[in-house]
Amino acid sequence: MSAQLVNEISIFVLAVFLGFEVISKVPTILHTPLMSGSNAIHGVILVGAMGIMAAAHGPLQDAIGFLAVLLATINVVGGYVVTDRMLEMFKSRNPRGPSQP
């Protein structure tokens, strides 16, 4: 087993625990934005798709690589924008000032 693989496995295992711990207790109203926000984070596949596209040889790899970059870009950009749009509404919740208790 190469040193690199051992490193990668370590990162993976630590990230699993981190992923469980980092969102501990989420109120119901944030379930949808949280799902959408994490959906944008897996858009990091864009980085991988770019690497693949850059190194592609021949029309088949070019075509698949192109498609992968396109889909990943849509995932990243759409994911962050739609999440921000949801959260924007929470912010403007009470423009008429605090209401009476």
Partner: protein, 464 residues
């Protein structure tokens, strides 16, 4: 793949921003900044990647073109989508991510020179990323189709469904093992991709539309894992961290969502299998009588109440009636009527969806009450005003064990002194089941478009 120390540290920074962003996303006060921090991490990862790319001019042009097309497509779709359609939008963004993850693994496998040896780490990771990514892609596509109502939302079942799905899953496992141990190569990977697409479709078809948010959350976690798999394929740590974070937190979130609906994940995913849907005799249901009221009747009833609890549902959102509802609440409060909103955890089409919709109409946050908070208050309420909701007040969830929604916690609207249902028709709710409460002697129906009816109610309340 080897990265320079600088690149590795920048990737680390991006990963830290993902973690920090995800953490902030789970608290209402910091959620928006959390999303922006995660986006900043993404920009850093993106920019860091560019100098290390070994490209020909053609590839660079193609890559830039793909990105330049993808940015407006994603941004415009996310900006222009109606708030009511957000769940299916999230499903499609998740689906394309899964598709990208599967394709990246395919290309990496294609790049192995024919006759060349493939390390087991590479082939295992490729098989994993292709299968999970493709299941997520196809499953998200079906979830989108159901939520967009291009296909009926009720569970689609057929004889032999479960054995057939199990067979497809088994074929994937066998083929996956063959690709890894025998090196059957590219053809095997294409076949895996095809089988995984079939499994994704078959897996989501039998799940009802109302359960779709939980399915999307699960598929979101799947895409995360596929991306992590690609991280192993490419030896890229930022993919491993980003993907795994989403995989783990997404699994946890899926569990929280199904808990909020009072369902076990197992029941939700596989509940429709092998169970004959006991649907009430629709002919019998049609013959039963309901009490149909006019806007004036209901307006008077509301105006002379002391306490009104509004139960908003998806129908409210579809009719874009949240502003009209706010006007009605204002008119009632002016007369001294106490108005609260009872928010079911899955009101709308996703947990939290209704809060977003009402926040858009500037409904004061303090008036939005969680189910646990308000359920005991229905007993003292004069009117429960159900606007475009159905399944979340259906007593079948309490009393009829055969019902698909049995066990789901519901709002106790039936305990109010009067119940007013505002509905377009007698059509059943998203879960496709009849609601006993509609025939209750305490219930008055106010048929029509929610926005029209609410506007008429405002006038009636002011006149009363």
């Amino acid at each position: 793949m080897h990265f320079s120390a600088g690149v590795t540290l920048l990737y680390l920074l991006a990963a830290v921003l993902f973690i920090f962003g995800l953490h902030r996303l789970s608290s209402p006060r910091h959620a928006r900044s959390g999303n922006l921090l995660a986006a900043l991490g993404m920009v850093i990862a993106f920019v860091t990647t560019i100098p290390g790319l070994h490209h020909s001019a053609l590839n660079l042009v193609l890559m830039s073109l793909a990105i330049l097309v993808g940015i407006p497509v994603g941004a415009v779709a996310a900006r222009s989508v109606k708030i009511t359609a957000i769940p299916q939008m999230v499903a499609s963004f998740n689906g394309v991510g899964g598709g990208a993850a599967a394709l990246v693994a395919v290309v990496e496998f294609l790049r192995v020179p024919s006759g060349g040896t493939v390390s087991p780490v590479l082939s295992v990771s490729v098989v994993f990323a292709v299968v999970i990514g493709a299941v997520s892609f196809a499953g998200s596509a079906i979830a989108f189709t159901k939520l967009q109502e291009l296909m009926r939302g009720t569970p689609i079942t057929y004889p032999g469904q479960q054995p057939v799905n199990a067979l497809v899953a088994a074929a994937i496992v066998v083929l996956g093992v063959l690709v890894v141990v025998s090196g059957i190569g590219v053809a095997g990977v294409w076949a895996l991709l095809l089988l995984a697409l079939i499994l994704g479709v078959a897996f989501v078809l039998p799940i009802g539309g109302a359960d779709m948010p939980v399915v999307i959350s699960l598929l979101n976690a799947f895409t995360g894992l596929a991306v992590a798999g690609d991280g192993f394929v490419l030896g890229n740590p930022v993919l491993i961290v980003g993907g795994t974070l989403v995989g783990a937190s997404g699994t946890f979130l899926t569990k929280m969502m199904s808990d909020a609906m009072g369902r076990s994940l197992n029941n939700l995913l596989f509940g429709a299998f092998g169970k004959i849907q006991v649907r009430p005799e629709s002919a019998g249901a049609l013959q039963r009588s309901v009490r149909d009221g006019s806007a004036e009747d209901v307006g008077t009833l509301l105006a002379y109440s002391q306490r009104v609890i509004v139960v908003p549902g998806y129908g409210l959102a579809v009719a874009q009636a949240q502003h009209a509802l706010r006007d009605l609440a204002d008119a009632l409060e002016k007369r001294g009527v106490t108005v609260d909103y009872a928010i079911h955890p899955v009101a709308g089409r996703m947990p939290g969806h209704m809060n977003v919709l009402l926040a858009e109409a500037n409904v004061p946050y303090e008036q939005l009450k969680d189910m646990e908070e308000i359920n005991d208050s229905f007993r003292s309420a004069d009117v429960a005003l159900v606007v475009g909701a159905n399944d979340v007040v259906n007593p079948a969830a309490r009393n009829s064990p055969g019902s698909p929604i049995y066990g789901m916690p519901i709002l106790n609207a039936d305990q109010a002194k009067n119940i007013v249902f505002m509905k377009r028709s007698m059509r059943p709710g998203f879960a496709g089941i009849d609601n006993e409460l509609l025939y209750d002697p305490k219930t008055t129906m106010l048929f029509g478009d929610a926005k029209d009816s609410l506007t008429k109610l405002v006038a009636a309340v002011k006149a009363a």
